[in-house]
Symmetry: C5
Subunit: 155 residues, 5 copies
């Protein structure tokens, strides 16, 4: 039985964890989910590490929604660096699902994007856990999560 | 009995630790507070680590007030990276409460913001310690500390 | 028997790993190849570390294609920092082959560049493994991978 | 008997270590000073670590004078990150005293600032070693080293 | 008998290692030199670490020539961060000699600068190894490597 950890924030403007949980559960069984909510994205790295080490999670989804200002970009950079460090300290994947507010034109699109990107990354989590060959089959295909795929380029 | 560590600076232009201590004590009992003041925000990471390792603090509030110039942004970035590293080395939360001088229009607003943000984050500290479910209940609600909440976006 | 690890992404718009494998195999024998595909470049560091530690790879090629926007540059920076950390934690070389979308004028050139740079770096991987003196012979020669060499400058 | 380490550079345009030593010695006794000069600020972190681990210093002053160009800002950022890492690896304070060339209007002011900031930080070093309560008494007072204090803001 | 490690690249447009070796050997005896060439500057950190740990080098010169574009600055930043990390993991100095292409007005000056800066830093390496007091004698003198010294500023 695998355990999937989900770390999310009260800062985000959309309940991305609900989307993640729904999508994961819709895809199958054979795993449990552990959720840990923190205030902001800079709190995510230690939460992820605690889920891995204290709750024995096999993989983590780190969900966040940075604002569009320069200081928010700095925060998201710091959070991302922390999440990479956690992965290297634990040899465990953390799929970072960050939706930047300035990626969307309005609140409706932002909600759509947060939901869609989270759900598509939930599939990546399951592929990494159960079916890594599926990712190799799609290597170099220009896949995106949320907005449409860019697709491959041809020689 | 839990122990809450507070690290703060002489550089800050507002005694944020006083706000933190008042708010924590107003919320309840069952914990002690350990305070450690350093000159500037880049001194906060090692102070936090010492409180965790030498004073056995269960959680830390890191309080700082970076200036508005480019070099100050660089310093706050370095401090934040250090605070994340401390969390990963100790599996302990550090709630960073930074108030950037350029967030406020004048000194009065700056004082208001420093006080308000610190007090709201004091609640986050207590939730993480005693009631993590409360944070999950507010996941994705677009909460902010200091200025008003952004609120959630709808699909 | 040496083992060469290749980590690549579904985000990339060209199957760089195929180029790497073809070129490595065209150059000789005496090694096996282990491939690990992840969603994006920020997932590469932990994948590389797992190939080194769990699959005993002797060297890694890390293949990615960051987009041209500011956020993509930030992601590539984070991935690169992670890849350097992995090298220092394992004393193992990781040859990073990143092709930035804005390096090419159009999709055709992008595909050409991804293929060409990967193949030229495959030679660097083999030199590091089997013939480090070859690199010393070319020290200071202004070599580039993909676009043409800059060449040396003269006193 | 405490030991205070001082790391400084040949790159700096002012002998900040002399100011530090004079000021420390003027303030009292009960400590020895160990000095270690390196070429540039990026050499400071390892020098500080060696003073702490090999010479058993209890605290370090890291003195540097970055230039005003973009590359110099990058170097000072790298040095600062290294100095924070050393602190976290050793649980020892390093008081960073950096004077940026572009902080001063001319060479005379630059010399004045380097001397003044170093001397004021020498007091911080002694407070951290012998009298941490003094810093807490000044928490939130908007203290600066070199140029005049900003002072506190009022609610 | 001391051992000096030199790491250099095929990316550089000048054989800086030759300058380093010539200058070191012209200065004296009592040491051996170990050279390790890698493709680019981001490969330098792990090469330096391997020279220190596997070849028992006492000090390292890290030689590189980053290009002038924004992406090159990012690469040099990543390499520098890695080189600092290696120093902290090994308590060993690495003298970074980077010559940025945009520091010179033309190829001739670039070659001159690469040669000159490397040779002057070779002296720093020998001072750190054999005569650290010489550096202290020059503390605060505004020394530069390559271009002319800035000199000290006066109070």
């Amino acid at each position: 039985m695998k355990k999937i950890g989900i770390v999310d924030t009260t800062f985000a403007r959309f309940d991305m964890a609900r989307s993640a949980i729904e999508e994961l559960q819709a895809q199958g069984t054979g795993f449990t989910i552990e959720r840990y909510t923190v205030p902001g994205i800079k709190d995510l790295p230690v939460a992820a590490k605690k889920l891995i080490e204290e709750k024995k999670c096999d993989i983590i989804m780190a969900l966040g929604m940075p604002g569009g200002a320069a200081i928010d970009k700095q925060c998201s950079h710091e959070a991302s660096m922390g999440l990479i460090t956690v992965q290297l300290l634990t040899n465990t994947h953390i799929i970072e699902v960050f939706v930047h507010e300035d990626e969307a034109h309005d609140d409706t699109e932002l909600a759509w994007l947060a939901n869609q990107r989270t759900r598509e990354h939930a599939h990546n989590v399951l592929h990494l856990l159960y079916n890594p060959r599926h990712l190799t089959k799609n290597a170099g295909m220009g896949l995106r999560q949320g907005f449409k795929d860019m697709g491959p380029v041809k020689k």
